[in-house]
């Protein structure tokens, strides 16, 4: 047994591993012996993997969470600085193409324990009930293999476990209230509220966002410094690194950080036997497990499945449907900037602060289906300069001039639903990374409905900006978040996984991240990924040894386990409308 510190820090044995400014990782971490078979290997300790790891460990399973990046010590590793936070992102090479090549890296991909939750803005709206029935209601895309009602208790759990701060009444989708109070508002929220109010559009402020507005247990309140997407050194913003991983370790889970999983190994009877990975020194190693869960998000999960092609699965593991890598989605995230004669100083307060979902649902008066949300965005100087490069074509003295006005600008974001398309996909390129693994080639194209939705949505956000009193408005195209590329569904011919994330082809191989989503709504996906993980956890725990033995899967819906939450989360906070 030894302390859970990053192995390269030999001199830091006396220094505690800090998770936020107050929380310390004090429990010694379990280490499974080389060659020892565990119950579960989870690949990727991010939004989905972090929650599932905690659930399985608490239920007594022997589980290892692998992560390709470091086990962050937030006080030593992170900085309150935009340029200095580059290491938080997935910076390994990837190719991006298509008619709208997606920006990857900092835009949507994390590397290290906590995954992208380390650098998400932590907007945490739920999906709407209609999101689970897009095909039935709008005749496009696909239905989810279960309903909103089935996920709802897990939304309620996660809203307490993160926890989510927000208004006492959230009017859209399935109306609900938040047990933890909303944040004070900043300059950008003023703009959103003012613009929406003048246009008669309902908006909410102060959340829903996974950031503490008051201190709680070992986590301090937000200090409104605005560096959410650079990693919250304060520990006020939820990430699985600080919300679920400490409890997982306290309950006997091992985290194997700086360990890149290269292949999933297939044994006899079409069952996986474990994984092959490169350890922190670049040595190739194997880890045996009775079951494997992939939680590497929408690019690395399909990449790993495709790279695990083997006899019987020549086109990629669990890919008999030819769906692995397909139906990749990103949301339209056009950024709309407005110049105001008065100062805004948008760098203060969390960028995720106010929003409207008034345009979320299909409106038959429009020429497209599904909809969008309007949200606050608060880019720091470098990000804003890059936005001005495209929005205004700024360079040279023009760049210097517009940046001198940085404090006069406010930004709002569109968050628009882009439908799943088979040609938006992740494939393997010829090019290899430094470990010899083929890099991901991502292709992203917009289709007719997407284009109409974006055109309408960005004009609506610009209208809000003008109504707020902007004297100049500019905008740039952007895409936010990633989901899909290993979707779940009822039909094994058109989906990769079943309603619990089990791959149709391999009974002891599961997927537990955003890649299982058949559609994405226009809500930020982080909360839903974590709710799905808690639900998958309840299923795996209820099934027990049946997962490990070659018996026909039982599809019975598990009981919601409120007793598996991290300490002092479930049942806390003021009760609100459900």
């Amino acid at each position: 047994m030894r302390l859970a510190i990053r192995p390269e820090r030999n001199n830091s044995a006396s220094k505690p591993h800090r998770l936020g400014s107050m929380q310390r990782l004090t429990s010694p971490m379990r280490h499974f012996a080389p060659g020892e078979e565990v119950d579960y290997v989870i690949v990727g300790v991010g939004a989905g993997g972090g929650v599932l790891l905690q659930r399985l460990a608490r239920a007594g399973f022997r589980v290892i969470g692998f992560d390709a990046g470091p086990f962050w010590d937030t006080e030593q590793d992170w900085v309150s600085d935009e340029a200095g936070s580059h290491q938080l992102y997935w910076n390994d090479p990837r190719l991006t193409g298509g008619t709208q090549p997606l920006a990857l890296g900092s835009n949507n991909s994390g590397k290290g324990v906590g995954g992208s939750t380390v650098h998400w803005a932590a907007f945490t709206p739920r999906f709407h009930p209609s999101d689970f029935r897009v095909y039935s209601e709008s005749g496009v895309a696909a239905d989810w293999p279960f309903s909103y009602e089935e996920l709802k208790p897990y939304y309620e759990l996660m809203e307490l476990e993160l926890p989510v701060s927000g208004p006492a009444y959230f009017p859209w989708g399935h109306p609900h209230g938040y047990a933890f109070g909303p944040h004070p508002i900043g300059g950008i929220s003023d703009i959103l509220i003012r613009g929406c109010t003048r246009l008669g559009i309902r908006s909410v402020a102060g959340g829903p966002v996974g950031i503490l507005q008051g201190s709680r247990e070992s986590r301090p309140h937000c200090i409104y410094r605005g560096f959410c997407i650079q990693g919250c050194k304060v520990g006020a913003k939820a990430s699985t690194l600080i919300t679920h991983v400490p409890d997982a370790i306290a309950n006997g889970a091992e985290i194997r950080s700086n360990s890149m999983v290269a292949r999933i190994n297939l044994g006899r009877d079409r069952r996986v036997t474990g994984i092959t990975y490169f350890d922190q020194d670049g040595r190739e190693r194997m880890q045996k497990a009775k079951a494997v869960v992939l939680a590497c998000y929408s690019i690395e999960t399909p990449r790993l499945l495709l790279n695990s092609a083997c006899p019987g699965f020549e086109h990629g593991l669990a890919n008999s449907s030819d769906t692995v890598g397909r139906y990749l989605m990103s949301q339209a995230g056009n950024v709309v900037m407005g110049y105001f004669d008065d100062l805004v100083r948008m760098y203060k307060a969390p960028p995720a602060n106010a929003m409207s979902e008034e345009f979320y649902e299909t409106d038959l008066r429009r020429d497209f289906v599904r909809g969008f949300a309007i949200q606050t965005v608060g880019p720091l100087p470098i990000a804003f300069a890059k936005q001005m490069m495209s929005a205004k074509g700024a360079w040279g003295w023009g760049m210097r001039r517009v940046m001198m006005d940085y404090n006069h600008w406010g930004t709002l974001g569109l968050l628009g639903e882009i439908l799943p398309h088979a040609d938006n996909r992740v494939q393997l390129a010829e090019e290899k990374d430094e470990l010899g693994i083929p890099v991901a080639h991502v292709t992203f194209n917009l289709h007719d409905n997407d284009k109409k939705l974006i055109e309408f949505g960005k004009n609506k956000v610009m209208e809000v900006m003008w109504a707020a009193g902007a004297t100049e408005v500019a905008q740039e195209a952007r895409y936010a978040h990633l989901v899909g590329a290993a979707r779940m569904g009822k039909d094994p011919a058109t989906s990769v996984a079943d309603r619990y994330g089990r791959t149709h082809d391999i009974a002891n191989l599961f997927i537990c991240d955003g890649s299982v989503m058949p559609t994405q709504g226009s809500a930020n996906p982080g909360l839903t990924i974590q709710a799905l993980a808690a639900r998958t956890g309840d299923y795996l725990i209820a099934q027990g040894d049946r997962i490990f033995n070659n018996v026909k899967p039982d599809m019975e819906r598990p009981q919601v386990r409120h007793d598996l939450s991290p300490p002092a989360t479930w049942g806390h906070g003021a009760p609100r409308l459900k």
């Binding site: 910076n91 050194k233 360079w395 040279g396």
Partner: protein
Amino acid sequence: MSRRIREELAKGHRPRNGNGQKPQPGYYPGFSTLAQQKYWDPKTRKVILDRVHNVPPIRFFTPAEAELMQAICDHVLPQDDRDEAHKIPILPRIDERLYEDRHDGYRFADMPPDPEAYRSGLRAIGVIANHLYGRNFTALTPHEQDLIMKSLHDGKPAAADEIWGHLPIHRFWMMLVQDCVEAYYAHPWAWDEIGFGGPAYPRGYMRLENGSPEPWEVNERRYKWEAPDTSVSDIYEPARSPIEHPSHPRSGGAK
């Protein structure tokens, strides 16, 4: 170009139409983020001070490339209004990134790797300079140099088609601008210039609305300034963002 400007240029000064060189341009006179460093956490302070005091040597670019790159950076992110002691190093940061082969975690499928893209792009700019003016880029007047930069911005280069055939010009231009702004706006002197509060942990902010300054921040005092009359960059012509340009892979494509 007037004789006055030529004389100024010969002396190493470029006139700023009434605004001379200053240690700190911008509308926040006296504002200093570095003066607040005792309120920063130790790790952040170390990273920022290292950025200010330790400028990396040139290791990726050849001396000739570095000279050309410096001239290019002077136009993509001009600093003629800063005095010599307060110019923010841009070229060394780009060189460091390329030397360390650091990138943003993705590459457009129709682009060569960044180091190759820079070498090709510099070659192309040299070809354009010689095609248009019969001289190297570094020997051109600031106005001529600015015009060539603007032709890259506009995606209408006068020459070097064979290079641009393998290096999509709009992507090269955006990478260049992005690299320059990343270096410039990462520097505390640039934060002082634009009135950005800089690192804010563990102290945080308390005045969140109405653009109010913290007690240690400075309120805005605007003045009129103009770009040098030799420059054509002080205008705005919206460009499409890199993700709006379809990618047509020529090599290294998907299986």
